[in-house]
């Protein structure tokens, strides 16, 4: 069972470069999420989606964009990377909302911005 797959696992960018982080889930889940994890700050929600074709802002959306063109894929884009975006990024999915249902996480993308 693949679950939630994130690519790439590691990436180093220069300030100002752009890139897209990919997330795919094979569980037919409606909800998908992008988080960033920084030391001492837990997981902070960047953007999320409650279904194909929908997106919404989380706690820290600035500098990021997302797209959910297909139900199984949720893409996170950095248009112009900044050092403050150095972090570990996690994608997660959930069948129909978190109440009583676990979020299934990928193994993360470690991103360094120089």
């Amino acid at each position: 069972n693949a679950g939630v797959t994130q690519t790439p696992k590691f990436r180093v960018l220069k300030t100002g470069q752009s890139m897209t982080l990919q997330c795919a889930q094979d569980m037919n889940h409606e909800y998908m999420y992008w988080y960033r994890q920084d030391p001492g700050m837990g997981l902070r929600l960047i953007h999320y989606s409650v279904g194909e074709g929908t997106t919404a802002k989380g706690e820290v959306p600035d500098g990021y964009n997302v797209s959910r063109l297909k139900k199984q894929n949720f893409l996170l884009g950095l248009e112009s990377a900044a050092p403050s975006q150095t972090s570990v990024y996690f994608c997660a999915s959930n069948p129909n909302g978190p109440r009583g249902q676990p979020q299934h996480f990928g193994d993360g993308t470690r991103l360094s911005i120089l």
Binding site: Y33, G42, Y48, V50, E59, F90, P98, F105, G106, G108
Partner: protein, 110 residues
């Protein structure tokens, strides 16, 4: 802004000791989840508590949801080195989001 304060942030104990991790908020959550995360991996769900006052046990781990659904605790009895990891609490809000605490890094020494 809804916040979930988790304490302590770091805990280093000897094998066999007991410990409690706390998760507190001024907000009411529809449910609260506890996750455990290993280095290099994503968080994995341990338990979900839904009802105020609910207590759930998972082997040596006991989870409690406060009566008002604003706080929760995780108690580990006779900790083992295999319990080492990052523990995260997360509260569910009606919009379909989870609010995470800062996490507790637990180290259990043999």
């Amino acid at each position: 802004t809804q916040l979930l304060e988790q304490s302590p942030q770091f805990l280093s104990i000897q094998e066999g000791e007991n410990l409690t991790v706390y998760c507190n908020s001024s907000s009411v959550f529809s449910s609260l989840q506890w996750y455990r995360q290993e280095p290099g991996e994503g968080p994995v769900l341990l338990v979900t508590v839904v009802t105020g006052g609910e207590v759930k046990k998972l082997k040596r781990l006991t989870f409690q949801f406060g009566d008002a659904r604003k706080d929760s605790s995780l108690h580990i009895t006779a900790a083992q080195p295999g319990d080492t990891g990052l523990y995260l609490c997360a509260g569910a809000v009606p919009t379909g989001k989870l609010i995470f605490g800062q996490g507790t890094t637990l180290q259990v020494k043999p």
